[in-house]
Assembly symmetry: C2
Homo-oligomer: 213 residues x 2
């Protein structure tokens, strides 16, 4: 268990999603082969990914949906709830803030911030937009763990600096920017422009494609 591939974590998230659907459909049993089909990976891969964390199945029988789902939620840290704040209340920030069922995933949006005085004071998704200067206080008082960056490219590093100073533990970065943060802060990029450019490449070079992250 000393080192787990990043790709494994991404796939665990996918398996969890599939198990959640299966559970909602009332299906009780599954197998590495079924999960592999749904996740578009090999059954070997599913078993190896799970093996990094333990043994969750029954030989000859497969996996019990609720059990495996519970284990994956525990592994991914989704049995507790996480508090988040969003920096950048333009259209993208608003869309993210309104994302339905945030709470259903145990992510609680507890703060919305911007530097633009015209945006400060507005109501968005039940939150009053505050100035970024308030970030350290709000992060402390509300116990915010995660920051979302939804500002334009030029402002992304400043937003990251502000979030790090305020004390968040991780950042979900929607800006098309490689941000520089202390190594103990984890950053997950969510960069749709980059995805669009990769798409351009792969449409023109279909033969050079193996697998998608």
């Amino acid at each position: 268990m000393s080192t787990v591939p990043t790709a494994t974590i991404s796939r665990l998230v996918t398996y969890l999603r599939i198990l959640t659907q299966l559970e909602a459909q009332g299906i009780k049993k599954t197998s590495s082969e079924h999960l592999a089909d749904e996740a578009q990976v090999s059954a070997f891969q599913v078993r190896k990914d799970l093996a990094y964390f333990g043994r969750f199945g029954t030989r000859g029988a497969g996996y019990t949906v609720p059990t495996l789902r519970r284990e994956l939620r525990r592994i991914l840290g989704l049995t507790r709830s996480w508090s988040a704040a969003i920096v950048g209340m333009g259209r993208l920030g608003e869309a993210i803030a309104h994302y339905p069922n945030f709470g259903a995933y145990d992510f609680l949006l507890k703060g919305a911030f911007d530097i633009d005085p015209h945006k400060v004071g507005r109501e968005v998704a039940g939150l009053t937009v505050q100035h970024v200067d308030e970030l350290p206080r709000v992060v402390r008082e509300k116990g915010i763990d995660i920051g979302f960056i939804t500002v334009p490219h030029e402002a992304a590093q400043d937003a990251a600096d502000a979030l790090v100073r305020a004390g968040v533990k991780g950042i979900l970065n929607f800006a098309p920017t490689v941000i520089d943060v202390p190594k103990e802060i984890h950053v997950e990029p969510v960069d749709f422009l980059a995805g669009l450019k990769r798409l351009s490449f792969y449409i023109l070079n279909p033969q050079l494609r193996e697998e998608v992250a």
Copy 2:
């Protein structure tokens, strides 16, 4: 050049972004080391990534910013323009449709679609929302290459099927869903909920982190 790692393509996109900034700042020369710093990778990695596609530098001197930028745009297929259509005109779809400077990247949004009759007919970002049934005609008439899926999870596979039937060549999938498409169609996932869950894992297991995709 027979096979190029997916991660290389992602990094080329990053290098291009950095070069674009350098060019905007009027900087004419750079080096693998400088690019590596900005992109948070090693200089070896930069040179190896470029080597998959040719030789773009001058030994002893480094790279010429405008030249390397032009070459990367060519490699990634960004010297032509791409036409896109978006399926799902909820908040996320609207936010994406309004994304500033879409055109600046030579991506042209030429159609907006939904199945909800209440949304059909509305104006969004200069486009009239059309029913998904119109997709095949519009894709054909407007020469649309790329489809964006911004519908909820439950509708994602149907949206993908509609886009594939209409004849798009690639899909940018914002839904939290592994969609099933013919293998010649490339799909790029842009899944922020998955990013959020990975973040949860890495905040709880900081020791298990190596690199971020």
